[in-house]
C-alpha cells in the first residue's frame, strides 16, 4: 500500500516538474553537468587541461573559447574539469550528510524519550557553532585537499535534514498505516525502514538539491582560504586566481568559472524550489 502511494507521488511530482518549463530546463542542466562530471571522472574529457596549449594569458578567441591562463592552459578545459570537482563536492558531501541526518533524525523521532533528547542535544551543539567557523575548523584540521572539503561540508550540513526528518517521523509514527503494521506484528525496523522512511523520503531529495548548491559555493570560499582542492583546477581556485589577473585586465578565467557556477547553482535553486512545491505542498515557499 505505502509502496504504491509513494510511486504515484513521485510520478506526479515528475509530471508537475515537467509541466513547468523553467524547472524542466533546470533538470536538464543538472543532468548535463552530471554527465560532464562523469565524463571527466572517466578521463574522457579535459584530461589534458594541464598541458600548455597556446601562448600565455590569451584573450578568448576562436581556438580558445575562454582564452588561456598564465601558463598557457586552455581555460575552457579548466572550467570543464572544475565541473567534476563541483559536482563531486556536492555529491560526496550529500552522501556523508544524508545518512547521518536520516539515521539520527529517524531514531530520535521514532523512539523519543532519552534518545530524542540526546540527539537534540547533539544537533543543537553542532548548529550552535556557526557553519563558517566549523567548516574552516574541520578543513583546517584535516589538512588541504578535496577529501577534507568533502568531510567538512558533509559534517556541517546534516543538521537541517536531521531536524526535518525527526519532525516528520514524529508526525508519522502515530498515523494509522503505522499502527496497522504494529497490529499485524511488524517490528520497529520494519515500521521505520519499510513504512515511515519511504513516506518522508521526498525531504531528502529536496534537501540534497539545496545541499549541492551550498557545497559548490562553499568550495569557492575554502579554495580562497587555501584549504580547498590542491592539484586540479576548480572553479574556486580559478576565481581565486583572478585576484591577480583582474588588475592586468585578464577577466576570462573569472568569467568562465563564474558563469559555469552561476548556471548550475541557479538550476539547483530553481529545481529545489520546484521539487519542494511538487513533493511537499505544505512546505510551499517556506524556509528558503
Amino acid at each position: 500500500m505505502s509502496q504504491k502511494e509513494t510511486k504515484s507521488l513521485w510520478a506526479e511530482a515528475l509530471q508537475r516538474i515537467l509541466k513547468d518549463k523553467v524547472a524542466t530546463l533546470s533538470l536538464v542542466i543538472v543532468v548535463i553537468y552530471a554527465l560532464i562530471a562523469l565524463l571527466v571522472s572517466l578521463g574522457l574529457v579535459a584530461g589534458d587541461w594541464a598541458t600548455a596549449a597556446g601562448p600565455e594569458n590569451m584573450a578568448p578567441n576562436g581556438d580558445f573559447w575562454l582564452g588561456t591562463d598564465f601558463l598557457g592552459r586552455n581555460v575552457f578545459k579548466k572550467v570543464i574539469y572544475g565541473t567534476q570537482v563541483a559536482m563531486s563536492v556536492g555529491l560526496v558531501s550529500s552522501l556523508i550528510a544524508i545518512p547521518i541526518g536520516i539515521s539520527l533524525g529517524a531514531v530520535a523521532g521514532y523512539f523519543g524519550g532519552i534518545v530524542d533528547e540526546a540527539v537534540v542535544w547533539f544537533y543543537t551543539t553542532f548548529s550552535s557553532i556557526p557553519t563558517i567557523m566549523l567548516l574552516i575548523s574541520i578543513s583546517f584540521i584535516l589538512g588541504k585537499g578535496i577529501n577534507s572539503v568533502y568531510i567538512a561540508l558533509g559534517l556541517t550540513s546534516w543538521v537541517h535534514l536531521c531536524r526535518l526528518v525527526r519532525g516528520e517521523v514524529i508526525k508519522h509514527k502515530n498515523r494509522d498505516y503505522v499502527q496497522a503494521v504494529t497490529a499485524i506484528g511488524g517490528g520497529h525496523t520494519k515500521k521505520l525502514f519499510r513504512h515511515i522512511l519511504p513516506n518522508i523520503f521526498h525531504i531528502v531529495i529536496i534537501n540534497a538539491s539545496l545541499q549541492f548548491q551550498v557545497a559548490i559555493k562553499s568550495e569557492v570560499i575554502l579554495s580562497y582560504l587555501g584549504l580547498g582542492v590542491q592539484d586540479v583546477p576548480s572553479w574556486g581556485k580559478m576565481i581565486d586566481d583572478a585576484k591577480q589577473e583582474l588588475i592586468q585586465g585578464h577577466w576570462w578565467q573569472l568569467a568562465g568559472a563564474t558563469i559555469a557556477m552561476f548556471i548550475i547553482v541557479l538550476a539547483f535553486n530553481i529545481l529545489g524550489d520546484a521539487l519542494r512545491d511538487a513533493l511537499d505542498p505544505k512546505l510551499k515557499g517556506k524556509d528558503a
Partner: protein, 313 residues
Amino acid sequence: MQLIQYILRRLLYLIPVIFGVSFVIFILFNVVAGDPTPLLLGKNATASQVEELRHQLGLDRSLAAQYFDIVKSAFTFDFGRSWATKQLISEVIVNRAYPSLTLTVPAFVISTILSILISLVVAYYRGKGLDTFIRVLCISLMSVSSLVYILFFQWFFAFKLGWFEISGYEEGFPNFLAYTMLPGIIWIILSLGPDIRFFRTVILDEIYQDYVRTARAKGLSEITILLKHVLRNALIPVITYVVIQIPFLILGALLLESFFDIPGLGGTILQAINSSDFPVIKAFAILSSIAYIIFNLITDILYAVVDPRVKLN
C-alpha cells in the same frame, strides 16, 4: 511567572550545549589535530625544546584536563595568548571588534530595512510582473559566489573608477566611511537575495489569512492592510530572522575584511588560519557559538513574549 520559569529552564539548557560545543572543539583541535610543535618550532628543534614547549602550551597534561580548560575558557572568556603574536586573545578580540562593527552594523541595518521595504512592495504586486522580476533577480543574485562580487566590485569601483579606497582603514567617524562604504555595499547586495526571499514568504503567508479577508471586506485599502495588519503579524518571524543574525555581525565579515584590509575580527580569523594559530581559532569558534546560543535564546524568549500562541512547556 510561567515566562520566568521558561527563561530559567532555557538558561539551564545552555550549560550542556556549551559543554557540547567545547567537546567538538576539543575533539577537533586537541585530539584530531595532532602535535602542533613541529609547526611552531620548525623541523630542527631538539627533543628538550619540544618537551618544554609542550609543557608551556599545556599539551603534556591529560586529555580530560585539556578538555576542562576549554570548558573553563567558555565561561571565563580567558583564552590565553595567541601563538603567533603572543598577545592576549581577549584583548585582541576587544580591539578588533570595533572596525568589524563599523562595517557590519550599518550594512546590516540598511540591508534589513531595504529588504523589508522591497518585500512589502513585492507583496503588494504579488503574482504580477514586478513580483516575478524581483524573485528572479533574488535567486540570480544568490547564484553568484560572494567572492566574485568582492573581486569584481573592488576591481571595478575602487581600482578602475577610483570611487572608493581600494583597501585599508582609519579609526573614527567619519574617516572609516571611506573604507567601509564599498564592502558595506557588497554586504548589502549579498544579503538582499536571501532576505527578500524570506520576508516575501513571511508576508505572503499572512496575506491569505482570514483576518486579512475580514479587513478587506470591511473596505480597508490594500496599503492599510499591508502596513497595519499584515506587517504587524509578520513581524514575529521577521524579528527572529533579524536577531539570529546579530552574532554574525560580531564575527565580522570574513572575506570582506580580508580583501579590504579592514583590521577586524574576520581578518583576524584568516590570519590565524594562515599561521596555524590554534588558540585564536578555538577562541573564535567558542565565542561565536556562545553568541549564537545567547541570541537564539533571545529570539525564543521574544517569541514567547510577543506571541501569546506559543506554549511555554
